[in-house]
Amino acid sequence: MSMTQGRSPFIETAELTKRFGAITAVDNMSFKVDQGEFFGFLGPNGAGKTTTINLLTGLARPDSGTIRIAGFECTNDTKAAQHLIGVVPDESNLYPELSGFDNLCFCAALYGMPKKVRRTRARELLEVFGLSEAADRKFAGYSKGMKRKLTIAAGIIHDPPVLFLDEPTTGIDVAGARSIRQLIKDLHRAGTTIFLTTHYIEEAERLCDRIAFIVRGRIVGADTVENLLRPAQGRHVMLATVSRSDQLLREKLAAAFPDCALQDLSGGRFRIESAEPIRIGMLVRFFEEHDVELLEARHIHPSLEDVFVRITGIEADLMKKEKEKTGGGT
């Protein structure tokens, strides 16, 4: 799937493919990210989000396809563009034995920044990220949220025009995640092109200009949030929870409501979508006739989550729980 807009592409991939043995982690992926854009990769665990970031940043090599970043040909060697790239990996991988300040100064030195400049920049970022008081504390002693913030600060120490953020808020408490999102928003507002991977739909919806849904290494849908939501507008969606469900019940339900799109979610939940209003009385009667208790039925407004579920067939809650359980990326 190719996505283009009017502006000049800063990141551009064509038919990018990466296999690990029999598994195709990234499958023929083509996309463009414009300069100054906030682009999101949304998908479940194992979808290939982290592998894509690794390919784009030079930590992995593609089996086929091409990568261009800021006009540099980066397919086999990203070195030429690495000074333009900031990377925040899914794990906070700074040096535990160094202080926050020393970690930032070291990261700045990797980009060749002179001593005076890197010290000033490190202090400035510690201030912006609210970590000034912890500047002299060892990174190992930081809380998870503080570690994430310092890792983001390390990613932008050299003021890169493009920042890759891999699951920046996973495993962070609500307040910490909120503050990190605000910092990311500010970076974008200041002109940084952002490539974000996340499994939080609401995070992608709130932050991104454009979102790509990625499943099993393939982009299955991509557009602006507005455009993604458009087909869902005017549709009626009901979420029903019943005491039991089986194949036979599903077949009978589909036969009883032929004009509805039926999706069997886990835990005895059905998602029923229709162009016409869904009459709840008919639904109650159907389940009574089949000796099934209707525990809950509610109309829901189509959201990006619905669009995601419809396009990918993956339940959003399940994706979130699975990700939080494993805490990693692929």
């Binding site: 992995a60 070195k79 000074h83 990996p89 034995e97 160094l98 980009y111």
Partner: protein
């Protein structure tokens, strides 16, 4: 210039984070002393015989000091993913690996001088050719470090690095002329000696300390230089093949 800022800071960071830590400093001091003591007691000779152990103890101190550190500074950082941060920096991988190994080379050289300082108090070192001994120490430190690097990038766990290192290190103690002359080895083992880089470094040290070496110094330096280039080249190749997959 920017590249050298990165190089210097990687070296400084490793020094602060690893090499100058008390356990490593004590390892660097105690290990050479222990080897000297062990071989001295084993020799059953007088205190003047300590000098005869010097080339072997210098070489072994460098070998164990450097190879042990590489598994920490490289394999451990790769495992913890902080090594990715270095790979993402806009510096060539060869320079990055030189920066990562420079600390181990200096550490190995510092280790070498522990038995030398000890020997200063126990024997007469006035006939030692330092102009030859110092390059020999440097070359042994470089080749041992690159051997450690080769091992470190060939494995994924620190314990694997230590095990794999021992596969090379322990045979070298016996096959490279450290304490037993290569000429005294059974004939079928001698070709193995010449396949190990330490043989050439120790031969230069024998030349510098006693004025007696088996091969010409030119052959020794050339052989050890070839080993350095080959080990560094294959380490980089392994890194590209296994770590940037």
């Amino acid at each position: 210039m920017k590249r050298w800022i990165a190089f210097w800071n990687i070296l400084l960071k490793d020094m602060r984070a690893y090499y100058l830590k008390p356990p490593n400093v004590s390892w660097g001091l105690i290990f050479p002393l222990a080897w000297t003591g062990m071989f001295f007691i084993k020799s059953g000779r007088g205190i003047e015989s300590v000098l005869s152990l010097l080339p072997g103890v210098i070489a072994i101190s460098i070998l164990f000091g450097t190879t042990s550190m590489l598994s920490v500074t490289v394999t451990f950082e790769k495992k913890g993913r902080s090594f990715d941060r270095l790979l993402l920096a806009p510096i060539p991988v060869w320079l990055l690996m030189l920066a990562k190994t420079a600390g181990a080379i200096l550490f190995g050289m510092a280790n070498a001088f522990v038995p030398v300082i000890l020997a200063l108090f126990l024997g007469d070192l006035s006939r030692v050719d330092w102009a030859l001994a110092l390059p020999a120490v440097l070359m042994i430190a470089v080749v041992s470090t690159f051997l450690g690097l080769f091992v470190a990038v060939s494995v994924s766990e620190v314990f694997e690095a230590q095990t794999f290192s021992n596969f090379f290190r322990f045979p070298m103690i016996f096959l490279c002329g450290l304490f037993f002359p290569v000429d005294a080895l059974p004939l079928f083992l001698r070709p193995l000696s010449y396949l190990l880089p330490l043989t050439y470094g120790v031969d230069i040290l024998h030349g510098a300390i006693y004025g007696r070496n088996m091969m010409s110094l030119g052959v020794d330096f050339l052989a050890i230089a070839i080993f350095c280039v080959a080990l560094f080249y294959f380490s980089l190749r392994n890194l590209y093949k296994k770590w940037i997959i």
